[in-house]
Every structure is written in structure tokens, then in C-alpha cells.
């Protein structure tokens, strides 16, 4: 192993873990569900992994898997409970759920170790495992963003009523999104606990909501790739920003504020927009207003369009 790898273990690990955490918010958001329950699931995964590892000395895959399963079930039940809520109200309800879990952890007595938390969750989980799991998750999510499935999720987000009229079971999509979000959050929480060997109420608090949100807002909320960009930036920014020293948090705040207000698509959105413009220029379409383009195209070829409308169809409609 080279020295860079070894000396940056912690940062490499937290890049992938914060990516998974951010995805637990990004996946619902992509389906138009403003839910922070993924952060609560992080706590569920973290504590489940710690308790199972310390008390039963189970293998890491069991410890993390149990947390993922539990969080998925909790996510499903939560989805049933909050089915009537949407938008802001859903955001508030799920934030409350998440913060409530934090208080629960503080008051869990011996099981959760109270305010000091749990220590000594030693396991054989390595950075390579974390990377492998994250890559599998990313491949699955990337596939879900393309083709028919991706389009239907887009429809659920942008126009649920339209999605219903196109045959998409919006309620079921929303429930699944809660389950996936729970599993992702719990996976991140479980892995983090086993790598750090410890968990406490402080490590699963409100600051995680801010972290996850900033990652996807700065990176771009509409794709896994945006979350990946954001996770890399916010994990490595502090070490790059060392020259600003104690003002680091301030820079962080300014970056987030500017991104949220002026770059709603995030860095990924900027990249995609640039890419699309380049391709368009390549095709030498007129550079003026886009509407003019279409009208021009229609004006050039009215005959062809009419012909298309009037063309006899070869297929016999059954």
C-alpha cells in the first residue's frame, strides 16, 4: 500500500460513509420526498452494530446487516405513518423523528450507554469493504436513474398526479423510497461505528442533517454523482482549507449558502448544463433563444411535419 493511502485512511473512509449518508437523503429527494429519516436510520444502524458487536461479538456483516434490516422495517412503518404528509411538513416530521432517536439513545441506559455512548466495538471491517459496499450501492442507484425506472421516478417527483395517470403507483414508490433510504442510512451508520469502534448520541445529532444536506446541495441533488462530488468536496475541503484555519466553518457556510441560492442544480447541474451547451454548439443549431430554434425548425419543415401527421400507418391498430 502506498503512503498516501495509509496516511489518509480516515478521510477515505469518511468520504464513502458520508456519501452513503448523503444518498439516504438524496434517494427520497429524487422521488420528491423531503425526508430526513435516513439520518435517523444512521443512528439505528450505528447503535445496532455497536450493541451486536460488543454484546454478541457477531461478524461485521451480521452487525451491519441487522441494522440495515431494522432501519428498513422502521422506514416502512414510518412511511405508513407519514403517508398524508408532504413537502415541508414531511421534512419537519422526519427531522423530529431523527432528533427523537437521539434523545432515545441518551436515555437508553445500559443498552445504549446513555450520554457517553458505547465503546469497544472492535471488528474486522476494513476500508476495502466499505469501498466495495459503496460501489455496489452506486451501481444499483446509477441503474435506477436510467431508463424506464429513472423516468418514472422523475415523474413521481415533478408531477405525482401525472405519474399516477401514467400508471405509476406513487404511494408504493414513496414507501420503497423510505425503505431504501433507511437501509442506506443504517449501512453508513453501522460501518462508521465499526470503523471508529464507538458511538455516542453526539455523533448522531442534528449536525448530520446539515452535513448530508450540504453534500447533496453543493454536489447536486438529482443524481448519485452529485452526492459523490459533494462527499469528496466536504470531506477533503477541511484539509485543503487549512490555511484559512479557524475561519473554516465560515467558508463552509458561505459555500453552502451560495450554492443553495444561486446554483440550485449543484456542481453536477453546472457540469451537465455546460456539457449540453457544448454538444448543442457542436450540432450548429442557432445560438439564439431556444424557442426560436423550435419555431424555426417547424417553419423550415412544415411539409415534412404534415406528411408525418398524415402518413398512413402500416401497423394495424388492434
Amino acid at each position: 500500500m502506498n503512503t498516501w493511502w495509509l496516511s489518509n485512511q480516515i478521510l477515505i473512509q469518511s468520504t464513502f460513509i458520508s456519501l452513503l449518508l448523503a444518498l439516504s437523503i438524496q434517494v427520497p429527494l429524487r422521488a420528491g420526498v423531503f425526508s430526513f429519516a435516513g439520518i435517523g436510520s444512521y443512528a439505528i444502524g450505528a447503535y445496532t452494530a455497536a450493541i451486536l458487536t460488543i454484546r454478541a461479538q457477531v461478524a461485521p456483516v451480521v452487525a451491519i446487516g441487522a441494522g440495515v434490516l431494522l432501519a428498513a422495517v422502521v422506514g416502512y412503518l414510518l412511511a405508513l405513518l407519514v403517508a398524508r404528509l408532504s413537502g415541508l411538513y414531511l421534512g419537519m416530521a422526519t427531522i423530529s423523528f431523527t432528533l427523537f432517536l437521539g434523545v432515545l439513545a441518551t436515555n437508553g441506559g445500559d443498552l445504549t450507554g446513555g450520554a457517553t455512548g458505547l465503546f469497544g466495538a472492535l471488528s474486522t471491517l476494513t476500508t476495502e469493504h466499505v469501498i466495495a459496499i459503496t460501489v455496489v450501492v452506486l451501481v444499483l442507484l446509477a441503474a435506477s436513474e436510467r431508463g424506464s425506472f429513472g423516468r418514472r421516478v422523475d415523474a413521481v417527483r415533478e408531477d405525482p398526479q401525472l405519474a399516477v395517470s401514467l400508471g405509476v403507483d406513487v404511494v408504493r414508490v414513496r414507501r420503497r423510497v423510505f425503505v431504501v433510504s433507511g437501509a442506506l442510512g443504517a449501512c453508513a451508520g453501522g460501518m462508521n461505528t465499526l470503523l471508529r469502534t464507538t458511538v455516542s448520541p453526539e455523533t448522531v445529532g442534528f449536525h448530520l442533517v446539515v452535513t448530508a444536506l450540504t453534500i447533496i446541495i453543493v454536489g447536486g441533488a438529482m443524481s448519485w454523482a452529485g452526492a459523490a462530488i459533494g462527499a469528496v468536496i466536504f470531506t477533503w475541503l477541511p484539509s485543503i482549507l487549512q490555511f484559512v484555519g479557524e475561519w473554516q466553518l465560515l467558508v463552509y457556510g458561505i459555500v453552502v449558502a451560495i450554492a443553495a441560492v444561486y446554483v440550485p442544480g449543484g456542481l453536477l447541474g453546472l457540469l451537465q448544463e455546460g456539457w449540453r451547451r457544448m454538444r448543442r454548439r457542436g450540432r450548429r443549431l442557432p445560438a439564439e433563444g431556444a424557442v426560436a430554434q423550435t419555431q424555426a425548425a417547424a417553419a423550415v419543415d412544415p411539409e415534412k411535419e404534415l406528411a408525418a401527421l398524415a402518413a398512413p400507418t402500416t401497423e394495424v391498430r388492434p
Binding site: 423531503f34 407519514v82 419537519m92 416530521a93 427523537f100 450520554a115 446539515v210 453552502v256 443553495a260 441560492v261
Partner: protein
């Protein structure tokens, strides 16, 4: 017992002052400002910085906090929320972006205050005002408690009356119901929005200064905790309802006090969260909330 009631009322009044502005902005111009807690803290903090230099009396300190709060709130509205509302494709997107933008902006004053104070709580020992307590036999009441109670209930009454009776208040309510129609009726939406944000910020600043006097000192992180309490108060009472936010703040403070008095207090923070969650499940419009009148 009487002492507990008085303390609960004071706490509720502080929640009320803080939540009043948030509820007003949310219920009328549709802006849920997550930086409200930061404004609250930073106004109190600026007053602290000034009091270190000049020994000011309480009214001057309050005036300072109110001004800083209003200025910050207006600044955020102009620099962040107005551009978002102008550019966003639809109402839902704008709502989400305003929340995220607010969370981002909230970090900035917090970072500055943490950097200067090194996260040590700050107070107004430099000012001329001293807290004195009067023993009434059955209860002990301090001068600052009286100020808080009078300010909170007085201002809630004033704003409630203003929304019902005064012309700009009526216009503001019209925006809350249907902003397009309100614009057609000649309501200057932008000016009213700025006014609302100024009032909201001023209330946050006032609450910040009074809380600092009441507790003796506050930490830069106090804003976040208050933000969540305010959500609970607003959701409990119903968004946009002044009577609702009064009741919500008092109920929250009451329940918290009861739990605090009868237990070791470790469950107290959960009350706000549980109230938000349960209320949203059972009655999303709150105790006093109007039905959604917005058309699709």
C-alpha cells in the same frame, strides 16, 4: 408550584417572541427561515460586543438587538430568499431551496460568533442593567421576567390586531391566502415581504437580548435549540395563526416544565420533537390552523 407556573410562562414567552416572527413569515409570505435562530443569537451577540465597549442601559441594548435582527433578516431576504423565489420553477422547489439556503446562511453568523467567543457563553456584564428579584411571598419574580412577559404578550396582541385591522396587515393576510390575487388587488408584495422579514428579525433580536438577560449568558449554539422549539410551537398552534403560536409556545413550555420538575430532565429535549411528530400525524394544520386554501 406558583414558581413553576411563572417560570413556565416566562419560558413560553421567550419561545413566543422567537416563534412569532417565524410563524408570521411562514404563514403569510411562505418563507420558513432556518436562519432565524442564527439571527436571534447574533443580535444578542452583537449587543454583547457593544456592551463590552460602552456600558449601555437595557432599553438601548434591546434597541440594538432589535435593529441588528431586523437588518440581518432583511439582508437575508434580499440576498437569498428573493433570488430563490424569483428563479425557482415552482412553489415546491422554492420552498425546499429556502430551507436549504437558510440552513447554509445560518452557519455564517454561528461561525463568526464561535470564532470570536471560542464557543464560551457570553453575557451582558458590561451593561448597566442588573437583574433584581422581588419576593412576593408565594412567588419570586425578577424585573427581567416582567419585561419578557409584557413584551411577549403585548407584541403578540399587537401583531394579532395589526393583521386583523390595519390595512398592510390585511394585505399580508391576503398574500398568505392567494398571492396572485393579492398582487392583482394592488398589494406591493415585495415591500410587504421586506416589512414582514424586518418585523420577524426584530422579534428574533428582541428575544435574543431578553434571553441573554434572563439566563445571564447564552452560547452561540443556543439558536439551533430555539429553532426546533419554535417549530414545535408553530406546528402545535397552526402555521400563520397568532393565537395558535401563543398557545403552542405556552403549552410547550408548560409540558417541558412539568417534565423537568418531575424527572431528571434528560427527556426534556424529546418533548418538542414528539409534539411536532404527533401533531403532524394527528392534526397537520395545528390547533388553530386554517384549512389549506391554496388551489393546485
Amino acid at each position: 408550584m406558583a414558581q413553576d407556573v411563572l417560570n413556565a410562562l416566562t419560558l413560553g414567552s421567550l419561545y413566543l417572541l422567537f416563534a412569532l416572527g417565524m410563524s408570521l413569515a411562514w404563514g403569510t409570505i411562505g418563507i420558513l427561515n432556518f436562519a432565524h435562530g442564527s439571527i436571534f443569537m447574533f443580535a444578542a451577540f452583537t449587543a454583547h460586543l457593544v456592551s463590552e465597549e460602552v456600558a449601555l442601559p437595557m432599553p438601548a441594548m434591546i434597541g440594538l438587538g432589535v435593529l441588528i435582527g431586523a437588518a440581518m433578516s432583511v439582508l437575508i431576504q434580499v440576498l437569498a430568499f428573493e433570488p430563490i423565489q424569483r428563479r425557482a420553477r415552482d412553489h415546491r422547489k422554492a420552498e425546499l431551496q429556502i430551507i436549504v439556503g437558510g440552513i447554509g446562511i445560518a452557519i455564517i453568523p454561528l461561525a463568526i460568533a464561535q470564532r470570536i467567543t471560542k464557543s464560551v457563553p457570553f453575557g451582558y456584564s458590561g451593561g448597566t442593567f442588573r437583574v433584581t428579584t422581588y419576593d412576593l411571598g408565594f412567588v419570586r419574580v425578577s424585573n427581567i421576567q416582567l419585561v419578557i412577559l409584557v413584551a411577549a404578550l403585548g407584541l403578540a396582541g399587537l401583531i394579532g390586531w395589526w393583521l386583523r385591522a390595519a390595512r398592510p396587515g390585511l394585505a399580508l393576510r391576503a398574500i398568505g391566502v392567494d398571492s396572485e390575487v393579492a398582487t392583482m388587488m394592488g398589494v406591493d408584495r415585495r415591500r410587504l415581504a421586506l416589512l414582514t422579514m424586518a418585523v420577524a428579525g426584530a422579534l428574533a433580536g428582541l428575544a435574543g437580548v431578553l434571553l441573554t438577560y434572563y439566563l445571564g449568558s447564552i452560547a452561540p449554539e443556543s439558536g439551533d435549540a430555539f429553532l426546533l422549539k419554535a417549530f414545535a410551537a408553530i406546528i402545535l398552534g397552526g402555521v400563520g395563526s397568532i393565537a395558535g403560536v401563543v398557545v403552542g409556545a405556552m403549552v410547550l413550555a408548560g409540558v417541558e416544565t412539568v417534565v423537568l420538575v418531575n424527572t431528571d430532565g434528560s427527556w426534556t429535549p424529546a418533548i418538542a420533537f414528539a409534539l411536532i411528530f404527533l401533531m403532524l400525524l394527528v392534526r397537520p394544520n395545528g390547533l388553530f390552523g386554517r384549512q389549506e386554501v391554496r388551489r393546485t
